[in-house]
Amino acid sequence: MNIHRFHSFENQVAFFTARTGVHLPRMTFGKGAFFKDLGKWSSTYSSQAQDVECVHILPDPVQGLSFPRAVDVLSSALSLSCGIVDTDEIYALLEYFGLPGSKATQPVISLSGGELLLLNFAKAKAMLTAVGGVVACSPIHWLNENSYIYWEKLVDAYHARQRFVDVALLTGEPFIDEERAKPEAAIEPVPAVEWQLVLNHPIVEFAEIRFPSYHPASRIEYGLADDRSSIEFQSPMLMTGDNGVGKSIFGKILSGILKPASGDMAISAPNGTGHARLIFQDAIDQLFGKSIDGHLAWVFRFDREKGKAAQQIYTEIDTKMRDYFKDRPKEAEALGPQAEHCTLLQAKISLIAERLATRPTVLVLDEPGWGLSGPIARKLVETVCRVAGGLQVAIVLISHHARWWTGMVRSRCHLEKQGHDHVIIRKIPEPCMKFDDTSGISE
């Protein structure tokens, strides 16, 4: 296995493009740059032919799945090596990579990040005999540690057939070869924000799909452990749970994107009782096709005061991060040029600043480390927690990589499935760190 590590998402994408010939248009520069990139790709396309056919696992794993459902993806992949595809083979592949058979007909866009990666693994396994290798970007970033085994199974299968495995990672990103190192520096405690979550068994229903093919209805009912109706947290709070358990869906309920069919949910925090704001896993989509500056200008078109506040928050986070990485120019690459906002990290800072300027009750960061190197992700989240603490905004981190946030989070909750459609939210004590605002962190 060839492992390549990069300090920024942009360098990782550049490597992927050079290695596979698949050009990913830039999404943070606005529509002009996007169409220019697409034009460049189409005009140079025939010269990018690769000698060896390979499977691609893209930084955003949904992009490697060109068909709308898992059955289509896998039958297409299996048909590369044999003309006629046996349906049982598709289900066997899903099972081999820990995905239930019900995922076969679920629309790919509604799968969780981890499930998308597992489906990419299943596709790669199906294509094994027809390709020379696999090029994968951050292949386990959205996976729970229990699921790393599926990546190892895929790598073993490729090695057994003497196929190459090229992995593009970001520096410090969790991976199977990771050394369990302690965080690079002790962190000053971030400000605490007390908030309360009231949960009256909200149920989210996903209607049955009858078109273009059938997929049964499903539902998730969220409840607190020990039949409680409310729970107090100290921000920053870390939310963990297995792949597909419903963490991102819960984030969407908290932020009002998904409305429960019955039951309800409420937040009580120093900034009031409204909905949370959310930064998605694939935050780049939240620019809505605009440039970073264009998006900020559009959102605050009618509210210059908040627009100025957002700019100030952006500058504060950006300055603190530049100061921290001033002696580490390679890592600071992700911060991009100060005069032009164009990198994924700058997009994330901008989206966070925009949300903090609206003073929400809670800001949910879904996998905030995606597309960022370990040190950058850690510093970003730490800085955001400090700024948010000053604004009395509670922070919720949804992440599989609890170790990244060690010494930073003040409370933690774990989501686990009980039965077919119940998800229990359990507050668990932070084992390593105890916070005391007067004396700082103690082990």
Binding site: P25, Y45, S46, L58, P212, K290
Partner: protein
């Protein structure tokens, strides 16, 4: 366990195509709606406008019924929601622009202009759900597999069309995702989250126009950009299927020869 085979609709693709073309016939040719309108007018009970509206609304209901049967209540409501928003936006913008720039009316009377806008409105609420039903009724995967087995120049043209078809399908998925992003940014959907100070009236006519136009502009470009974003990866995938099918047949067919793009 529901398997892929159990879940697949058993209606052959050609029968589906024929049935859908028959359903869309009034849109393509105007028949039989035009003929029925004439018959209604001949009874002297209906003016041409009322006859038109009666017939096309009845046709709209039959299209919606087919969508309901095929796609279910939830999807029908989603499609109708999108169709009515689009139709209202187009009709209102059309009315405003024709008011501001009378030349656009091309000499039509006010009544004729209004009726034209009603026709546009009716067309959108009928043919948007119909188009989505049509596009999603066929499997892009099967189409690509089938086309990849062709020989000669039809294969290249077919693959281009199959890819375009898949990109159209992908638009629906993109809209679903964008709607969630929009709902997070603007919980009231059509009202800006950041309305400014109490003294500032974002809903003043000038600001409202800026907001409305900005929203339409944002949605159009977001849909285009997010639909086009995965095209390079999709093309790579289609080419791979094509090459594999080709190697199964034992014929030589390089990327340069095919010129997929």
């Amino acid at each position: 366990m529901n398997t892929h085979t159990d879940n697949k609709r058993t209606v052959p693709w050609w029968l589906k195509l024929v049935l859908l073309l028959m359903l869309g016939m009034p849109g393509f040719s105007g028949w039989p709606n035009g003929w029925i309108i004439q018959k209604l007018q001949a009874t002297d009970l209906f003016t041409p406008e009322i006859a038109y509206i009666v017939v096309w609304v009845a046709y709209a209901c039959s299209v919606w019924l087919v969508v309901l049967i095929c796609a279910g209540k939830q999807k029908l409501l989603n499609y109708l929601g999108a169709a009515f928003v689009l139709a209202l936006t187009v009709a209102m913008l059309g009315a405003i622009l024709r008011g501001l720039f009378p030349l656009l009316a091309a000499g039509l009377s006010r009544e004729a202009t209004s009726f034209k806008l009603i026709r546009i409105f009716i067309n959108i609420i009928i043919f948007l759900p119909f188009s989505v039903l049509f596009i999603n009724s066929f499997s892009a995967k099967q189409l690509i597999d089938r086309v990849a087995h062709f020989d000669g120049r039809y294969r290249t043209v077919g693959l281009h069309l199959a890819l375009a078809f898949r990109v159209f399908q992908h638009t629906g998925e993109v809209v679903f995702n964008l709607f969630q992003i929009w709902a997070e940014e603007y919980p009231e959907k059509i009202v800006p989250r950041n309305e400014g100070s109490r003294k500032f009236r974002w809903y003043a006519p000038g600001n409202l126009l800026v907001w409305g136009w900005g929203c339409i502009h944002a949605w159009i470009f977001a849909c285009i950009i997010h639909t086009f974003e995965p095209i390079p990866a999709m093309v790579a995938e289609v080419e791979r299927i094509d090459r594999a099918n080709n190697s199964h047949k034992g014929t030589k067919n390089t990327k340069e020869q095919k010129g997929l793009l």
